[in-house]
């Protein structure tokens, strides 16, 4: 009779999972130090999903058996749910164990060897001059789809414009009233912030907002917000930072 109710539905959602970054291929040492960490907070790690990051290992071309690593993390109580930064062989091993491979994020990584990773990230903002500002209002645009690094914008964000950054967002110019800036990470505004600023939009409660002159219409971190009505009760001469503490937004002057 219940023919009309659908059997299933797809929805998109974001989850947080710890990432295990390996620096060494010494399996015994890995197991030991993993157990050590778990002993510090056994409840926290119990049955936790885990993503295994092999970038550092591969950067130094250390040989190892992925299947063995998977076995170790399972043994100590993790559920490996993903691998990233692996080479072709490791990715194949992962798939054989039904562990998904994270494809995109660091294409540069598997290709470039010896190239320092940090430089890569540092160059990204400048390499793409204001990708988002070009796209006005209607569509909030992801800064640069593959690399969730930092988005740098050095022109004013005008009323009606929306900026969305998948990582951190740094704005060197002013943000006008009626503009909206959003980031999954932190937001830095090295000028006057008059519009709306929403940091940690995917629920990152550790995200912060920094600005030189706070005159915002609304600030929000991970969904907790304050409007200008609350903000205007106090004036802050000079730069401030805003962070979340027990679901309360704290605004503090930066000395």
């Amino acid at each position: 009779m219940s023919n009309n109710t659908p059997v299933l539905e797809f929805k998109s959602s974001t989850f947080f999972a710890p990432i295990l970054i390996l620096f060494n291929n010494d399996m015994i040492a890995i197991e030991e130090s993993l157990q050590e960490k778990i002993n510090l907070a056994p409840e926290f790690f119990k049955d936790s999903p885990l993503i295994i990051d092999l970038r550092e290992l591969n950067k130094h071309q250390q040989d190892f058996d992925f299947a063995q690593i998977a076995q170790i993390v399972r043994k100590v109580g993790f559920f490996p749910v993903g691998i990233r930064g692996g080479n072709e062989q490791q990715n194949m091993q992962a798939r054989a164990l039904s562990i998904p491979v994270d494809p995109g994020r660091d294409q540069a990584n598997s290709a470039t060897q010896g190239e320092p990773q940090k430089q890569d990230i540092a160059q990204q903002p400048t390499a793409q001059p204001e990708p988002t500002v070009a796209n006005e209002a209607a569509q909030a645009v992801a800064a640069s789809p593959p690399a969730a690094a930092t988005t740098l914008i050095n022109q004013p964000i005008r009323s009606g414009q929306r900026i969305y950054a998948t990582g951190d967002l740094i704005i060197l110019s002013q943000v006008s009233a009626g503009a909206e800036i959003m980031a999954e990470g932190n937001i830095h505004v090295y000028n006057t912030l008059r519009g709306r600023a929403l940091a940690g939009v995917h629920g990152n409660t550790a995200a912060r907002i920094f600005c030189f002159d706070l005159q915002a219409e609304l600030i929000s971190i991970a969904g907790d917000y304050k409007t200008s009505e609350d903000l205007n009760k106090q004036t802050y001469d000079g730069p401030v930072q805003i962070y979340l503490q027990d679901h309360a937004l704290i605004i503090k002057k930066i000395a």
Partner: protein
């Protein structure tokens, strides 16, 4: 190739058409062959300000639709033979403007003219978007008043993102500020936003401050661009604007307002 200027603001009634007429006349007087186009289809005004309303036969939309040639529709100004007006249609609406049509007309004008001034309608809809799309320079006309400043700010966002230059990733449109209807006395008494207040939000290169002046209204009614009234402050201010735009350095006037004769005599500053 012509340089295309859009005169825009977002908000209505701030002085876009007055400014368009004045600067187009100023550029023509300076010796540049200039065309001024009324993009306010359905609410055409530019022809009135320029005093050529009785000579309108064909209009912008006729040219876009191929019903008339450009040379048939362009009206030569009676005060300056380097200035031509392309009037808007009064019987149509903004939907009659097409992307390709406007582009074609501007291309054709570009071959013959040195400057093309596009008088944008108010709002951020089709007419305004098409007026700014092809522009090289933008004159953002703003009144010293909070809603006008906010709308100009919005317009600047659109200028930097929805123009041809933005889409082609070329050098962005050069944006200039024109502060119109400025009343130095009311600024002093705190009733009106001052230049600093406006610039704090817009931070643009200031091309000029046009003081509130009776001569603007009487010039409009007479159908003579106010820039031709050399005795009026507004006329002088517009002359300064054109000169600055053409690269001349002139100090800004009319920020503090004129002092009365008595005050000058006694050095009073109240």
């Amino acid at each position: 190739m012509a340089r295309i200027i859009v005169v825009t603001s977002g908000k209505g009634g701030v002085g876009k058409t007055t400014t368009s007429a004045a600067i187009a006349m100023g550029l023509a007087k300076a010796g540049y062959k200039t065309a001024v186009i009324d993009f306010d289809v359905g609410l055409r005004n530019l022809d009135l300000i320029l005093g050529c309303e009785r000579r309108v036969v064909y209009d912008f939309i006729n040219v876009i639709n191929g019903e008339a040639s450009l040379s048939q529709a362009l009206i030569r100004d009676k005060n300056c033979n380097l200035l031509y007006i392309l009037p808007a249609s009064q019987t149509r609406d903004k939907d009659a403007l097409t992307f390709e049509g406007v582009g074609k007309v501007l291309d054709e004008l570009s071959k013959e003219f040195q400057y093309i001034v596009c008088d944008s309608p108010a709002g951020i809809e089709k007419g305004a978007n098409l007026a700014l799309y092809f522009a090289d320079d933008a004159f953002v006309v703003t009144n010293p008043e909070i809603s006008s400043v906010r709308d100009s700010d919005r317009m600047l966002g659109i200028l930097s993102s929805k123009s041809r230059r933005a889409e082609r990733n070329e050098e962005p449109i050069k944006e200039y500020l024109l502060l119109t209807r400025y009343d130095a006395q009311r600024v002093k008494s705190g009733e009106m936003l001052g230049l600093d207040d406006v610039q704090e939000i817009l931070s643009l290169e200031l091309l000029g401050i046009i003081p509130e002046s009776r001569s603007v209204l009487s010039a409009s009614n007479a159908g003579v661009p106010v820039i031709l009234d050399e005795k009026s402050e507004a006329g002088q201010a517009y002359s300064d604007v054109v000169a600055r735009y053409l690269g001349e350095k002139r100090p800004h006037r009319f920020i503090d307002g004129k002092q009365s004769f008595l005050k000058r005599l006694f050095g009073g500053r109240s």
